[in-house]
Symmetry: D3
Subunit: 139 residues, 6 copies
Amino acid sequence: MPTVKLVDENTNNPRVRAVFDDIKATRKIERIPNIWRALAANPEHLELCWQQVKAIMKPGKLDLMTKEIIAAAVSISNGCDYCVNSHLAAAQKLGLDDEGMGEVLAVVGLYNQFNRLVWGLQIEPDVFPKVDSSEPRPK
Amino acid sequence: MPTVKLVDENTNNPRVRAVFDDIKATRKIERIPNIWRALAANPEHLELCWQQVKAIMKPGKLDLMTKEIIAAAVSISNGCDYCVNSHLAAAQKLGLDDEGMGEVLAVVGLYNQFNRLVWGLQIEPDVFPKVDSSEPRPK
Amino acid sequence: MPTVKLVDENTNNPRVRAVFDDIKATRKIERIPNIWRALAANPEHLELCWQQVKAIMKPGKLDLMTKEIIAAAVSISNGCDYCVNSHLAAAQKLGLDDEGMGEVLAVVGLYNQFNRLVWGLQIEPDVFPKVDSSEPRPK
Amino acid sequence: MPTVKLVDENTNNPRVRAVFDDIKATRKIERIPNIWRALAANPEHLELCWQQVKAIMKPGKLDLMTKEIIAAAVSISNGCDYCVNSHLAAAQKLGLDDEGMGEVLAVVGLYNQFNRLVWGLQIEPDVFPKVDSSEPRPK
Amino acid sequence: MPTVKLVDENTNNPRVRAVFDDIKATRKIERIPNIWRALAANPEHLELCWQQVKAIMKPGKLDLMTKEIIAAAVSISNGCDYCVNSHLAAAQKLGLDDEGMGEVLAVVGLYNQFNRLVWGLQIEPDVFPKVDSSEPRPK
Amino acid sequence: MPTVKLVDENTNNPRVRAVFDDIKATRKIERIPNIWRALAANPEHLELCWQQVKAIMKPGKLDLMTKEIIAAAVSISNGCDYCVNSHLAAAQKLGLDDEGMGEVLAVVGLYNQFNRLVWGLQIEPDVFPKVDSSEPRPK
């Protein structure tokens, strides 16, 4: 049972309505998922969250499928049922088939195990990414 | 400080040596990372772990880069320093550049936040992946 | 479905009854919440837990509202549905309104994100609290 | 060892410089903490993160001290050393004394314990916050 | 609602059937638990997982009861409802009574608390296990 | 670097000294581990924590070794370095050898993996412990 009232999709609140309309247009969906209707209980926070999702969940060096797979991997690690379902659904819509989902699951399981093996063995890092020495590029 | 003695790369133990040789050949590396030298304290567990990694961390429906990205995402979520470093290094070796790594980080951060927003709002799943009704294929 | 039998509020067990009566008096409630009825399956552990809650969840340098907010923040971070509901309810009863609850949620989400940004970036602490050099005061 | 190069405080990158200047002015500090210098490896993500922190970590229904206490509580629950230190330092600067910090710690410990007692006992929520039925206010 | 189709116990898939038969024989059970029917959506992963469980969950230096107690402790710490129930059931079947289960719960709660006290206090390890200096034995 | 001053073993504070003496006598140790010296910054919390450890970490239906193994399993799952070291050391002192420690690690790793497999598969509990219907016994 939600801890806030889910805001109606057709709310008259202009700030909320603007975000809802942008979500539908950006995601090409007809129905606002409950997470956004719940966040709408605080319009300023809704705007901040949607702006952040919109800025991060767009194709970049990583394509959208890879980003949804990361989102699913994080949600499976944490055990967030809502997010496991919605990100697996999103990855599937982008083309991930059953076998691909099985591989996501296998890798997530494997490294949740290895993280603990490392903690139990108390070993220190010995393989590092190379760190670029240049300044960030102006964009 | 490790809780077990790291086994020497040139150990005479034949079970351990066989795994170490296979790791070097499969991964095309010259040096055995400490995680494997620590797991080698229990040769049977070492074999089991390596067999599992070898079976899962090969290209399938997901390419190896995507699998290393998932491994990094899980390790960042859990805060395992050893694994964060080694999987970012592995993804980088496979071609992930600084901008790509920045995107992995941004998505992992974003959904660790959203998992908690969902838990605080206590909303129920409303978007689900489609579940295939066919039997698994014999392989 | 609970893994133990919830003990009846009107149990004849004197140790359990004494704790239940103290919970009702201290909290000014009519009904024993299920967590206490479940813990009562082990009367000694029930006593220990209640004594600990009673000692910690009283006004001190922090008022009770702040303590319930911390309890909610911890429970949202961990994803414990029972505790999210009961501590948000407690904070609300002490006067936290919807906007305040929205702020708790926003801060919890934000720093669950930042904890992972830090882990992915592998940065070392560089801002520390000042540590008082005096001995603890006798009380 | 950071996985990105920490950007110099006096960088010529204008986007990064603008954020660094705003951090110094807003927080009334002379030195940019490492988290921001590391995030600056990706200027767009730096801007997004700072904008979010600035929007959320301002006095509202909750004062800044309470928000820093929540940040510390989350970071202690997750075990993020960097964040534990920096948020305890921030709360201390706002006036939280040693006794207050001890109370934060005690409450965080207590409810990390209770979250697990609930999970082991598998009890369902029975105390809920009241959910307001009104539409969100335009602001 | 599962994210994969649960494979029928009487499936004609020979790889899956072989694992199901081995699970029934090894565990002396008549009915395949849902976790295995779900993993069977990917027969290769099913085989890998069952082989791993079979290799680890057998009496060794630790008896099976102790291993099931560890499995329950991990699952309670993580809040995995399915696993909390199934491992408490398994430990109970092996002879753990209500009082014993209460002790498992108390210890798990206690050290989830202490892990956070340590993180909040930021203390460094000062008591270490002795590390054996010998090579692993050939088996 | 600890966030509180570690209290000297030979402190003149009578409440702290009484706990320190009891820890040495109960545990048959000569030196107070840092966790207790840090908790001593708040004498009342120190007393509460020690009383709780003393009440729970005594032989009951589970022997002390099993309880230390649970403590280690919890600490490995959470990644608390201090606690991993101290509980593995305690179990070793009680007789757990290298092979036994390897088994603890293997089981902890395995079920951290399975917890995530369950979360990714979103299956509901189907095997439950039997719940005793009797009232708790007076003790």
